[in-house]
């Protein structure tokens, strides 16, 4: 597994446990009425799960496993995926922060960052979405 995928998949696992733990605290709060402030974290929970867990995982697995570009196993320049991931982490940070302390420009900033991340990852994956080319084996005993 390449370095980028290791980073991205590990980040996604961390989002899963941290975001899930926030969900667990919300559930306890819902049942017995403790820690009501945790409800400010509801939107953070949703985005940590849908963006932090699922999107980071998808970026990491895509870079690892999509068809390679040449016989040496070249996956394409890694700077596009690193930028996609950097933009995604920045968008998430803004979203999590804004869902705890709302500020008006947050949505515009986070959605622009996320839009750029989407363009970068699509740009990277596009040429790799191709049929696997398997060279026929040379005939052995003709």
């Amino acid at each position: 597994m390449p370095k980028f995928s290791i980073f991205s998949i590990r980040a996604s696992l961390l989002y899963l446990v941290i975001g899930g733990s926030v969900g667990g605290i919300m559930l306890v709060s819902k049942a017995i009425g403790v820690w009501p402030w945790i409800w400010y974290w509801r939107t953070a929970h949703i985005h940590a799960m849908l963006v932090g867990w699922l999107l980071n995982l998808i970026f990491g697995v895509a870079f690892w496993i999509l068809p390679r570009l040449d016989a040496h196993g070249w996956r394409g320049s890694p700077w596009l995926v690193w930028s996609a991931s950097g933009l995604l982490q920045a968008a998430l940070a803004v979203l999590v922060w804004a869902s705890i302390r709302p500020w008006s420009a947050a949505i515009a900033i986070a959605s622009s960052l996320e839009c750029l991340a989407a363009i970068a990852i699509a740009w990277h994956c596009w040429p790799r979405l191709q049929p696997l080319i398997i060279e026929p084996r040379p005939a052995q005993n003709k």
Binding site: M1, L13, L16, L27, V28, I32
Partner: protein, 145 residues
């Protein structure tokens, strides 16, 4: 496909069917235009059956199957952790799906503490998943026997 992965993936399909059943029940109940629809309490159950029971469990099952193997001796790492994750994951989500809506339908202190236990089980499950998969997210591939 390893036994562990088959359990995760088959159970994920069970949750997919359950999620659709809940969704169908919620949508059909709207036909009667009730003043207050008791099935509205199932919305959160529906989302988590779909996103946790189906999507997340399917991903974990496929990861157990296809991530780089841990070592020659233990290709899938410590399988006890994986089974602990499987048990807490489904017990937690199953219990929660029953008792979370009961907070609205028939609250009692038993229900409240059952929700707290479900939350603990669910969170424990995710930490087990992390422990199980973390060492398999790595560069070098050791071939399984």
């Amino acid at each position: 496909m390893p036994t562990l992965a088959r359990y995760y993936i088959r159970t994920a399909f069970v949750w997919l069917v359950l999620a659709f059943a809940i969704g169908i029940a919620m949508l059909t109940s709207q036909l009667w235009a009730l003043k207050s629809n008791p099935l509205a309490a199932l919305q959160i159950v529906f989302y988590h059956a779909l996103m946790v029971g189906w999507v997340t469990q399917l991903i974990v099952g496929v990861a157990i199957w296809l991530f780089p193997v841990h070592s020659r001796e233990q290709p899938r790492g410590n399988e006890k952790i994986a089974w602990a994750a499987y048990a807490t994951f489904n017990l937690g989500l199953g219990l929660r799906s029953v008792v979370e809506p009961m907070l609205q339908w028939a609250p009692s202190s038993l229900v409240k503490w059952a929700v707290v236990s479900a939350a603990c089980l669910q969170v424990a499950a995710l930490w087990f998943v992390l422990l199980m998969l973390w060492p398999r997210v790595k560069a070098k591939v050791a071939k399984a026997k």
